[in-house]
């Protein structure tokens, strides 16, 4: 059906998709899974014509369609949905469906004036078709509602409904399940199965929910680092150690060979602590932790992403939040920073409730945050980046800058250079250094190693350990769980926005249940 031959899509230096080769078979529901940043959505966008590929070929039914525009691909029977619903907000639900069929008579302007009767006849037919689709999706009561007023899940259903308005040969579904509650998710799953059986649609779906994947998909393709890792049935993939490794990230052992020069970061030995204090260390007592988000519940729009989730960190400790994609790891961190409004729960800093404070006010209280992307001022020099980090400080911060330069000697060399001209790893250093300029008591890092090379990763972790040893509380979300847990004092495993496991980093790594949970479920 769709054959992809060594497809590449590079954004500048970033190889989002590199040499991906896969085959989507006719009449099947193919699942596409992989850790964050594996290039799944980029692959979809490239197949669907939103991006022009950097290299490689795409065949649709044997015909070369590389570089076709989206509307041309649609005409050939390829339809896609979007991860974030792309409804037409000022059209009604019914209109959202009725606009889909191609080559409608009334889409030619002249016909709207001269061939009104035939147009109306066709419209009536389209309306019946759309109403049938709404019936199928159980959306009929909402037919005349503006699509912009639907809930997130209903918009997802509508996206699916649009694909049913045309004779699609193949449908690409990008995370139809994201932000949808369980019941609706089952409905969507049913709809996909019925479409596949009754109308013989071919599907290819990106999905994080392994339950849904197991239920619907065969085969499942696993992507990692822009290429296809393996392919097989859901059960095979689930059991595949390689796949779990990909989700956990590369371990230290792999890179020890490359990083002989870099001092190997070691988790801080904790021999002096008694068992009792260690137990207390792991229990969630509010006043034990310096910075804690208690029973946080909330999300964007309607759906809750966090479900009574508790995360806390003490001074001089590294805490890592890990978990499958879509577990709410970054969201938990954003909630603690105040970028997300919570429905329940509170945020405490040093025993003071700061739930009501805006992000800026929290920054002023000593919380520093390093975002995952766009975390440096690219048009400013390294030194200016650091100065901006210290913007709130009115005192002389040259000493702090000196300390930061001690920590990241490379930055001292490059302090006159624009941050945008640095390599990825150096930029990451600038980002961390900028955050340190406020002399924070808490440092929060959102996936600091995303997209950097293993060598740089080790180096960065070594620096983070040094920062910890200076008494800063460090809270980190990390995709590369193996690496992160190996340096962490404690780790939280989140699944579906709730705490699943909490333990010492090494203990978590050794726990087979934790390893399983990484694939979702």
């Amino acid at each position: 059906m769709i054959q992809v031959h060594s497809l590449c899509k590079h954004f500048g230096g970033l190889k989002a998709v590199h040499q991906a080769t896969l085959n989507i078979q006719r009449g099947k529901i193919t699942g596409l899974i992989g850790p964050n940043g594996a290039g799944k959505t980029t692959l979809f966008n490239t197949i669907a014509g939103v991006y022009a590929p950097t290299g490689g070929r795409i065949l649709l039914d044997g015909e070369d369609v590389t570089g076709f525009a989206p509307h041309q691909l649609f005409a050939k029977g390829l339809v896609r949905t979007f991860q974030i619903a792309h409804e037409f907000p000022t059209l009604t639900v019914l209109e959202n469906l009725m606009m889909v069929p191609p080559a409608q008579l009334g889409e030619r302007l002249v016909n709207t004036w001269l061939r009104r009767r035939r147009m109306h006849k066709q419209e009536a037919q389209l309306r019946r078709q759309a109403e049938a689709v709404l019936e199928f999706l159980k959306l009929s009561p909402l037919a005349d509602e503006l699509a912009g007023n639907l809930s997130g899940g209903q918009k997802k259903l509508l996206e699916l409904g649009r694909t049913m308005m045309t004779d699609a040969k193949v449908v690409l579904l990008d995370e139809v399940g994201a932000g949808v509650n369980r019941t609706l998710l089952n409905d969507i799953g049913d709809a996909i199965l019925r479409l596949n059986r009754e109308r013989n649609y071919t599907f290819c779906m990106i999905e994080h929910d392994m339950e849904m994947i197991s239920r619907l998909c065969d085969p499942v393709i696993v992507m990692a680092e822009g290429a296809v890792l393996t392919e097989g049935s859901a059960a095979e993939v689930n059991a595949n150690e390689q796949v779990i490794e990909a989700y956990l990230g590369r371990g230290l052992g792999i890179k020890r060979r490359h990083t002989a020069r870099v001092p190997i970061p070691q988790p801080r030995p904790q021999p002096t602590r008694s068992d009792a204090s260690a137990a207390a260390d792991l229990s969630e007592v509010a006043d034990m932790r310096f910075f804690i988000g208690e029973a946080m519940t909330g999300g964007y729009g309607g759906a809750d992403i966090l479900d009574a989730c508790t995360v806390g960190v003490s001074k001089g400790e590294i805490v890592v939040i890990v978990g499958p994609n879509g577990a709410g790891k970054s969201t938990a961190m954003k909630a603690m920073l105040g970028m997300l409004k919570l429905r329940h729960g509170r945020i405490m800093l040093g025993g003071v409730d700061i739930s009501g404070l805006a992000p800026q006010a929290r920054v002023a209280r000593g919380i520093a945050f390093v975002p995952q992307v766009a975390n440096v001022f690219v048009t400013m020099s390294v030194q200016e980046n650091l100065e901006m980090g210290a913007y709130l400080r009115r005192d002389d911060f040259t000493a702090t800058m000196e300390q930061v330069f001690e920590l990241f000697p490379v930055l001292r060399e490059k302090r006159r250079q624009l941050a945008g001209e640095l390599s990825g790893g150096q930029r990451q250093q600038v980002a961390v250094a900028r955050a340190l300029m406020t002399k924070p008591s808490v440092l929060m890092l959102d996936e600091p190693t995303a997209g950097v090379s293993p060598l740089v990763m080790d180096d960065l972790f070594a620096r983070i350990l040094e920062v910890r040893d200076s008494g800063v509380a460090i809270l980190m979300v990390e995709q590369n769980a193996r690496q992160a847990l190996s340096i962490a004092d404690r780790g939280y495993v989140l699944v579906l926005g709730a705490n699943r496991h909490t333990d010492r980093g090494a203990a978590l790594l050794a726990n087979p249940e934790v390893r399983k949970s990484f694939l979702g479920g």
């Binding site: 669907a48 939103v50 525009a69 989206p70 509307h71 649609f74 005409a75 339809v79 896609r80 979007f82 792309h86 409804e87 037409f88 907000p89 000022t90 059209l91 009604t92 019914l94 209109e95 959202n96 009725m98 606009m99 889909v100 191609p102 409608q104 008579l105 009334g106 889409e107 030619r108 302007l109 016909n111 709207t112 004036w113 009104r116 147009m119 419209e123 389209l126 309306r127 009929s140 009561p141 909402l142 037919a143 005349d144 509602e145 503006l146 912009g148 007023n149 649009r162 045309t166």
Partner: protein
Amino acid sequence: MSQPQIQSGQSGQSGQPMQPMLRASLAFAVIAALLLLVGIGQSWSFALAIVNLCLISAIMALGVNIQWGFGGLFNVGIMGFAALGGVAAVLVSKPPVVAAWAAGGVNLLLAAVCCAVTIALATLLYRRMRKGNARLLCMTAVIGLGVLAMRYFYTPAVGAIEAVQPSQYGYLGGLGLPIIFSWAVGGLFAAAAAWVVGRVALGLRADYLAIATLGIAEIIIAFLKNEDWLTRGVKNVTGLPRPVPYEIDLQQTPWFIHWVQQRNAAELSELSPEASGEALRALVVEASSLFVKLCYSGLFAAVLAVILALSITALNSPWGRMMRAIRDNHIAANCMGKHITARHRQVFILGSAVVGIAGAMLTTLDGQFTPGTYNPLRFTFLIWVMVIVGGSGNNLGAVLGGFLVWFVWIEVEPAGLWLVDNATAWLHAQHPVRVHLLASAQYMRLLLMGLVLLLVMRFSPGGILPEVVRRRQAPAPAERKPAE
């Protein structure tokens, strides 16, 4: 071009306080009442003059609404397209100046041929040669030579044409056809210009389209002001023929006099014969002026009705649905198989053509073409105020905006004068502040227009008649309930 909607998620949830049709009828009733008031209070002739310009403004606003309300395209070059309509009126209706054609016609045609050949060659090179410095060099050479060749013919031709009785002609004249044809031709001119602009600027994002159209409008005006051989430039073309009778002719026409006499038989019979003759003459003069204006109103209203009907049917059809979908989210629409660039180009050309038609009508009404009077504030931004205030995305709204804003534009000046006069009555009649304020009262209207625009955007972002939500004609009551 994403989401032109100023409003975000309007209507729907907020619940509509009034049925859209009722709201529209009420709004138009208010306008009618205002115009009647002017008719009774000031004069009928003045009221009709306002109506005529209201009609033309409404057509222009419709054209802009096609671009903005349907397609989300931000065009601030309306003035240029209106002026192209105006020049069409000259070129269609004025008789050809034979002497000028004889003096410079051949050279001018040769210049046109040179121009065409240059463009053709340059296009050929662009398509055939590979991208690079060689192509750039070749194209520069071809265009440079072409311009030289063109100027070789063009300069003497223009000199010769402009020397033909400069006080009266000095230009080529037109085709000598009835001026009413120029309305269609004006639309075509504007459409052609829009096609060119669209080729360059439609792929770019909204800001660039705005600045590109701003520029093209200035260029068009500069062209019309300076190419005397075509338009007489700032010397203006006056005395354009009319599509309706002249007052002087009417006053001599027996049936008209008779008709006026009959209408006023009662009043006239009470007067003495001499006095009645005098009174009749005065009545005929007044009636002839009203009659002519009414003729214009009829013609303009007919054009407005046709364009309005076409826009409404188009917007209510699958085509309109597709346009609104593209406006809402062009990426999704593209993935649903709709050709975005082609549709954008289509509405851009159509909207500009409608503006061009209105421009030709305006010049027809004025009876003269005066390139110096085109001013972006009056011809571009005022029309924008009409569309936003009336209700973008709603054809009736644009028409309403055209009527209302033009009415305010005209009536604000006397109202402002009256206000200033009364507010400063306590000052000495020659007091400099009072004199200055009285002289400046006319500029109040720009200020007021800006204020109205900002207030509407802030407090009623959908305009007076917001875009209608197209629900099914007769939804069953059960189906109207929004689900939880």
